[in-house]
Symmetry: C2
Subunit: 216 residues, 2 copies
């Protein structure tokens, strides 16, 4: 059975996955981009951005394998862009340049209509206005038997967890304080009954923890 | 300068330091005692409870050294006992048996009056009714130049953090889900400005993170 997974979801020591104040030049909120320093240091990230070098090792491995067997991605509109409310126009094509790192269909959750479009390298963006379950259905269809990944952000992961739809969640615990922001783990009283920790793998810089649905 | 420190403050993957439903037989709330399994497995805990064995290593070292240079402890009344509201009587002497592991003066925050008393091994319990700053003042006086430790629970640590009074906080991140409960890191918007991570030391079972006040 294809699964719904979330991977490399970064969480600060105080429990936040993004700071407040997202903007064009601050995709993780004000001063929030430092949350991703563990990723920026990797060879994976260097390759993706056309740079030399970057570190190999555990953190790099998790990033490299985060796309394994993924046939479609779902993301919240805040992960797609900094706009809020109705789309002012359709000029914005995401944060990732002309060749986004997805290379498969991406479904963006939004209350506001927006045309679908295609980018280089096989990535397409479609916009889903009728809720997370509809997006999941469309994503599973597009993934053609492969798994579907929730890209983020925090609120989208939280919504799918609340709905009990997430089969597997890989968190990256970063020893850093954000002070405030958005939480993945909020209002999930039943999560300890439905899910359990399957893996705890600390690297030198962060701790990787994977939770999975309990076997019934 | 003597410092106010909190050590071995355990936090679940979802950010909770105690579950809901604290009771006489559940000091960490319903099903919450498993949060402390990392500590129960150590030689330190085995010694403390008169058992053989227990693991040495990083986790044990942190526990052994958690009392270093501590001259007094402050705790919330929920850490002292499961009672709520006015004290029904003064029979309850804490969770720790006749010889508590403190061996110094302990100050319990409570809105309700209670007599002071002494236990074996140099531990005394006094009850402070006029707030956290008064308790801190009394504890520093009693500590005679040594540091003061906040024992817990979550709410007490949170209150001292909010007041900007904590010099050093050692957290133990446990890869485990609680679902709900009490958070240390809640309503602390300015914490990332005042404090920073000084140490990240993962063991095989948990990740130790120490935050300190930033130098001015």
């Amino acid at each position: 059975m294809p699964k719904l997974v979330a991977r490399c979801i970064t969480i600060s020591l105080d429990g936040f996955s993004a700071a407040k104040g997202q903007a064009h030049d601050a995709p993780f909120g004000k001063d929030g981009l430092r949350l991703m320093e563990w990723a920026f240091a990797t060879r994976y990230f260097a390759n993706m951005t056309g740079q030399e070098g970057g570190a190999e090792g555990l953190d790099n491995d998790f990033l490299v394998h985060s796309f394994d067997n993924i046939g479609a991605t779902i993301m919240g509109r805040n992960m797609f862009g900094p706009q809020r409310g109705a789309w002012p126009n359709e000029d914005w094509k995401g944060w990732w340049g002309p060749n986004p790192p997805y290379h498969h269909p991406v479904f963006v959750l939004s209350h506001h209509k927006h045309s679908s479009f295609e980018m280089e390298g096989g990535t397409s963006f479609s916009f889903v206005n009728d809720g997370i379950e509809s997006a999941l259905k469309q994503a599973f269809a597009a993934a053609k038997g492969k798994d579907v990944r929730i890209g983020g952000g925090a609120s989208t992961v939280n919504q799918y967890l609340k709905a009990g739809l997430v089969d597997e969640l890989h968190c990256v615990l970063v020893p850093m304080l954000l002070g405030s922001g958005e939480r993945i783990f909020e209002g999930l009283d039943g999560l300890a009954d439905s899910h359990e920790v399957a893996e705890y793998i600390p690297s030198k810089t962060v701790a990787h923890v994977r939770i999975v649905k309990k076997a019934k």
